[in-house]
Amino acid sequence: MVNKRGLLTFASNPVIASTGVTVGPLEMKKSPFSKYADKNYDDERCGLKTNEQGHAKMMEDACMIALSKLDKTPSDAEFVLMGDLVNEMTPSNFAASTIGIPYLGMFSACATSVSSLLMAALLTESGMAELVVAGSSSQHNAIERQFRYPVQYGSQKGATAQWTVSAAGVATIIPHIEGAPIITCGTIGIVTDLGLTDPLNMGAAMAPAAADTFKRHLEGHGSTVEDYDLIMTGDLGKIGFELFKTLLDRWEYDVSSVFRDAGAEYYGKHPEFLAGASGSGCSASAYFTEVYDKLLSGTYKRVLLIATGSLMSPLSYQQGDTIPCIAHAVEIQMK
């Protein structure tokens, strides 16, 4: 018997009606995903005083853009589900306070993009909601300063280090309509901790979580790798993605070119960014730009998105704890 724990199936076929993505100046210049973005800023702080205020502003703008594409205002939306990585998710809280939609903070670290999407689909499925806004964001300076060092501090980063992106990605989820990508099913991840402790090598810590969720999703929903046009992980980065593929290879999955990683590709594999990108804005802004557009245009028919997150804090790793990681998967189809 197949283990059904953590599996979600949406019979009512909720759809992603629109997306809104905002990116910072560096991403605009260097990221191949930014050409699909709706808005970019010349200033990392969006012209505001602090990084965190800029962070909230990015989030808020992304929500407004996603809603305006449906000709809706915030007062039409029933729920907003979003999160970020700053302490107590203050940027999301402030953004929610500005837009004034009933708000549930979501935290799965960098996997928030998928976890909020799944929760939004559930709300829609239950019939409690006609319009839910879901998304996540991150801002380089704010995250860097919280998890690592001051932005201007000179420390040599190894090949495993990842660059937190400044971006916000938001989607609106509504009950089924024709011509929009459908959220068919999903898998909630199990926290996986294989005892890695290096906070500058998070891709390696997250890879087993992604592999585990991937395996459970395929077994639970009875699909195979060939069913998908794209299987995209969130922010494993180059090294984590290698490990992920190696793990799948050992489990005898066919690791083909349908596998991609948003983090490794985020900055066009530029060597200056070392292992690639990370942050909760990374997967969100990649999924809701290129992947969503290609679903709409019909290039992709069925995709599996696995966002990964490392659930640590500066406190936990300084106290010598290991890095627990999670990965959530969502399957999106275009019919």
């Binding site: 910072g24 560096l26 260097k30 990084n51 300076n141 040599q156 660059w163």
Partner: protein, 120 residues
């Protein structure tokens, strides 16, 4: 006059290589590396070995952080020589204050003038 430039370059560079090895091979964080080097500098001065190095290498020995430990110990020892055991406490910052005070002052000035930027 010329050879001091060469010795400065080489000695300063070698101290940095030691630091790099501690970071790469020993897997220490930069903060741990710096602390270890400071302690090493102060122990070397305890044996009276750091001063000759400064004479030999000039800034090659005074600019690396090891000199910070050396200067603290040197100040403490100089005072201890004059006033006995109490001097260990009182003499500590006699010599070194310039590095710390400069860092404090310029740090404050910088916080007034600059804003942090996340460009690569």
């Amino acid at each position: 006059m010329l050879s001091i430039f060469i010795t400065s370059f080489i000695v300063g560079g070698l101290i940095c290589v030691i630091g790099q090895l501690m970071m790469d091979v020993g897997k220490l964080t930069p903060a741990h590396t710096l602390c270890t080097l400071v302690v090493a500098g102060s122990i070397l001065d305890g044996f009276g070995l750091y001063e000759p190095l400064i004479d030999f290498a000039g800034t090659g020995a005074t600019i690396p952080i090891t000199s910070f430990g050396n200067a603290l110990t040197h100040g403490a020892l100089a005072e201890a020589e004059k006033h006995g055991i109490i001097g260990v406490l009182t003499g500590m910052f006699e010599v070194t204050s310039s590095g710390i005070s400069a860092a404090i002052i310029f740090g404050f000035v910088a916080s007034l003038v600059f804003k942090s930027k996340g460009t690569i």
